[in-house]
């Protein structure tokens, strides 16, 4: 009985733990509930309409109706097929939809016209949604102009996967790598500082000539070394287990390594800003679950960012894990080079510089 009482008294004296025990399930519900199975909106689709005929106009009207109604995709009209396909390859569009010049003519002749659809298939959920919607749009123009029984007027939607097929388990690999990086950064870097404070060891190096920048950067670089090794082991293991080919060449290794290093630095700096003044490992314990939920699940690692509600999309714009997941997916599944992930690299670099500066400035060199 005394043991139970002792434990209950101690629990009662930790109000923040009690509050987090109640709030965390609510938070998990809000974040997780909005991170999965949401309705996809504003998927960027490039449309190249090479036909001036009435049927093509009807198709475009249908697409604009989808854009205005359910808002599943957002159309960008382009004139060149090459530009549209490159746009998909570079990650600016989720798909390129091509209406050929003879589309209306073939429709009138009931000659079964073809339209082209180039898909960013590694994002299988978005690709499938776009394919289904465009199929429906094609069916509706046929029903409007051609009797339903007349098979000759059917449009053939020729969809082309731009990349090798990615199965479900393979699609999880970038997320697994990011999760490994997150856990690595949580158990190294600033965590060691918090432990030193808790054990009273911190005073010994605060008394030396080490500057703020020395202490912060030293801890960050040691965290980087540990986390990079963890990420490397997880990457190789998960690629072997899911059958992603390891032979991507050195030109792909460098961007991959850059993303891992920058993601690690980003998260280490973020942890430093948040936990730089914490004096007890209990704070790290409380915040680790919270940070994992708000950073990882809305990162696009499992479900596309386009399915999030507006507020979560806005948060995703400043969530570094979103950029890391995007970059890793591009490298692993699209064989993308540095040019395709330059936006991600730029964001991660800026985020790191800003947060590292804040971490150094806010680090307290006195007790």
């Amino acid at each position: 009985m005394a043991v139970i009482e002792r434990d209950l008294i101690k629990f009662k004296r930790n109000p923040i733990v009690i509050a987090m025990s109640i709030l965390m399930p609510v938070l998990y519900l809000v974040i997780l509930g909005n991170s999965f199975q949401g309705k996809l909106t504003d998927l960027p689709v490039a449309v190249v309409n090479q036909d001036t005929g009435p049927y093509a106009k009807r198709v475009m009207e249908n697409l604009r109706a989808i854009q205005a109604g359910p808002k599943t995709f957002k159309i960008t009209n382009l004139s060149s097929e090459g530009e549209a396909v490159n746009g998909v390859k570079e990650g600016r569009f989720k798909a390129a939809f091509i209406i050929p010049g003879d589309f209306s003519k073939k429709m009138s002749l009931q000659a079964r016209p073809e339209v082209g659809l180039f898909l960013d298939n590694p994002d299988s959920i978005s690709a499938e949604t776009i394919r289904n919607l465009l199929n429906a749009a094609m069916l509706s123009i046929r029903s409007g102009y051609v009797p339903i029984r007349d098979k000759a007027g059917e449009v053939l939607l020729r969809d082309i996967n731009l990349y090798p097929k990615v199965d479900y388990y393979q699609s999880l690999v970038p997320g697994v790598i990011i999760m490994a990086i997150f856990l690595g950064t949580l158990t190294s870097g600033v965590f060691n500082l918090v432990m030193d404070r808790f054990l009273g060891i911190e005073e010994s190096y605060l008394l030396t000539p080490l500057s703020k920048a020395h202490i912060v950067s030293g801890l960050v670089i040691s965290g980087l070394s540990i986390t990079t090794v963890i990420a490397a082991i997880i990457t190789v293991t998960s690629m072997l287990l899911t059958g992603i080919p390891l032979t991507r060449g050195w030109e792909r290794f460098f961007p991959f390594f850059a993303v891992v290093v920058l993601t690690t630095l980003c998260l280490l700096s973020l942890m430093f800003v948040i936990l730089g003044r914490a004096r007890h490992p209990r704070i790290v314990g409380i915040l680790s679950g919270f940070l994992n939920v708000i950073l990882f699940f809305p990162s696009g690692a499992i479900y596309p960012v386009e399915s999030f509600p507006g507020w979560l999309k806005a948060f995703a714009k400043c969530n570094p894990e979103v950029y890391s997941v995007h970059a890793l997916k591009s490298i692993l599944f699209k064989n993308a080079g540095m040019a395709s992930i330059s936006g991600d690299i730029l964001f991660l670099s800026l985020f790191t510089i800003v947060l590292m500066t804040i971490a150094i400035l806010t680090f307290k060199r006195t007790l």
Binding site: K10, R13, N14, P15, I16, V17, L199, G200, I201, E202, E203, S204, Y205, L206, L207, T208, P209, L210, S211, R279, H280, R282, I283, R365, T366, L367
Partner: protein
């Protein structure tokens, strides 16, 4: 730079909220001096040492340590001092040698010199055999010796020790004292020590300051401090035929402050008890008394300390704890 002065403190104050832990304190420590601060728990010793070693910013006042202002040139101060804090700060996950080696690297001491210095210091503190063991396996005394050796790696001219023998057994305490004496004699270091062990201050320090409630209430050499409180040596005499006349005549002697008769013994409060004992015995005999036994209790620094600080236990400042994270989480240690 103030030549010849290792520490110059002018009107320094540190407030935590409305409470002044250190209250307008002034003192100086000469180079090569072994200086000690005595004070009860919560007197402000640790706060003072933390201000002098740049860990806390003074609320007001000024302190020059090794020629540098602690507020304006903290990095320079840190280069010139060695500090052994009150809490054990050696890393338990590292070996004794690793602790020393990393510390040396924090000061930018290069390979060969660092290696030689560490070997010498470990030998000095008797830890050579255990140098490659984890500090977690060390006893309290070994850990404290390692920490003293560690702060000497960069040859600081000024050493701060905050209650260095607290919690150590008498043997370990003596080893630490012998080592500190060697430092002050052999290496001409200046040592600033805080303690509440009277014998430690008396044995080691050339000068002692007594601090209470954040203020210095007495300052001088242990003998001078004792001399400042006259009549605290007690001579106890067992006298065979004690009479009121004898007691009165003893009480009239010039070096006697008070004579109290208790059954067949006499307690006499005198100046300089050892010196005046033969005179006192002669006088008792001349007054017709028979001496059966005699003993002298000379006043100690503890008497001086109690004289200045009183016998009441201090109302110590309540430690701040984080009630959000749990009442058992102190926000600051050892203030």
């Amino acid at each position: 730079m103030q030549k010849g002065k290792a520490i110059v403190v002018s009107d320094i104050t540190k407030k935590f909220g409305p409470i002044a832990a250190v209250d307008h304190v002034d003192f100086e420590v000469d180079e090569g001096e072994f200086f000690g601060f005595l004070g009860p728990n919560g007197a402000g010793k640790t706060t003072l040492i933390r201000m002098l070693t740049t860990l806390l910013r003074p609320t007001s006042g000024k302190a020059i340590v090794s020629g540098c202002d602690v507020t304006e040139e903290p990095a320079e101060v840190r280069k010139r001092i060695g500090v052994v804090p009150q809490a054990m700060t050696s890393d338990l996950d590292l070996t004794g040698h690793e602790n020393m080696d990393l510390y040396g690297r924090f000061y930018g001491i290069r390979g060969r010199e660092r290696k030689e210095r560490i070997r010498y210091l470990l030998e000095m503190v008797g830890l050579t055999q255990r140098a490659n063991d984890l500090v977690a396996t060390y006893s309290g005394g070994m850990r404290r010796r390692l920490e003293i050796a560690r702060v000497l790696v960069h040859r600081p001219p000024l050493l701060f020790l905050d209650e260095p023998t607290i919690g150590l057994d008498p043997q370990s305490r003596r080893v630490v004292w012998d080592f500190l004496k060697k430092l002050i004699e052999g290496d001409s270091m200046t040592i600033f020590l805080t303690t509440h062990y009277m014998e430690e201050a008396e044995l080691l320090c050339g000068r002692v300051g007594i601090i209470d409630a954040g203020k210095i209430i007495a300052l001088g050499s242990p003998s001078a401090l004792k001399a400042d409180i006259p009549g605290n040596d007690i001579v106890s005499l067992k006298v065979g035929n004690l009479s009121p006349e004898l007691v009165r005549s003893i009480g009239e002697l010039p070096f006697v402050h008070k004579a109290i008769a208790e059954e067949n013994s006499l307690r006499v409060y005198v100046d300089n008890g050892s010196k005046n004992l033969p005179v006192l015995i002669d006088d008792v005999r001349q007054a017709g008394g028979t001496i059966l036994s005699a003993s002298v209790h000379e006043q100690s620094l503890e008497d001086v300390f109690i004289h200045h600080t009183g016998k009441t236990i201090r109302e110590e400042e309540v430690k701040k704890v984080s009630f959000l994270l749990g009442a058992g989480v102190p926000q600051r240690f050892g203030r």
